[in-house]
Amino acid sequence: MTQPEGIFNRLANPTRFMSIAGAVLPWLIAVTVILFATGLYLTFFVAPPDYQQGQTVKIMFIHVPSAWLAMMGYSLIAVSSIGSLIWRHPLADVSAKAAAPIGAVFTFLALVTGSLWGKPMWGTFWVWDARLTSVLVLLFLYLGLIALWQSIEDASRAGRAAAILALVGFVNVPIIKFSVDWWNTLHQPASVARMDGPAIHSSILTPLMVMAAAFTCLFFVLHLKAMTTEILRRRVEALRMTQVARAAAE
């Protein structure tokens, strides 16, 4: 099957990709810093207390973006895995491998911040309801992918195995999303991504969306940096093999 034309084909050259990433990163970092500064100001100095949660609603401004990015990160890995298995795009498994630790951290932070919100609100740090359990499964999937990458020395074989695991595990993402609709859960239903539109007042929704944008930009800053590092790692590995071959020939 031929590779898709256009931007993905042009980015298949790792050297060109690194050049573009190097040009984009400083601007993306600046945007991230501005968004975090704005979001934190809105969170602590503008957003009012919630009529039910009180000031504990402020945890939502970090919990919800973390959870969104946990799912977005895995979706990115799944799309990269398709690119790797079907189109054999040279940078697809680089993208997947780079995204896994980042997504795992956001998933962990979603669980921790959710627990710290749950104790004062629900009276417990944890319940085995569908939403919490499926997010915990997501964390295990991330850790499994990282372990798989580490356990197979050959990058191509590791990439294929990880891509298959990632695609099988992607079934968990819609389960997470719709768990609050399909089962009776303690976790509340969706308040933002709803067919009827957000059910949150703008005084809370605006800081939430700014923080979500900040978290998203941070994700892509870290992802781009991790991808360029992975390309360097593979170059180091290739040069080491050259070094060993030369030593053996002498």
Partner: protein, 66 residues
């Protein structure tokens, strides 16, 4: 001083966890990048370079991910 209410400890704990988590992630990614760049520089200083770096500068880099 912002009044964070009766559950201030949980709010502060959540923001502290996110700060530590993201700071650790950022530090790890930067450290990994620097380590790989250093190792690449050491290998190239020993005269071990990629085929594309050695011979194809005139026609533009056409290297692989390796």
């Amino acid at each position: 001083m912002i009044d964070l209410g009766d559950h201030a400890a949980f709010i502060i704990g959540a923001y502290a966890a996110v700060t530590v988590g993201l700071a650790g992630l950022i530090a790890w990614i930067i450290a990994d990048a620097r380590q790989q760049a250093r190792m690449l520089a050491e290998l190239e200083a020993q005269g071990i370079t990629r085929r594309s770096a050695r011979g194809d500068q005139a026609s533009g880099a056409k290297g692989s991910a390796k």
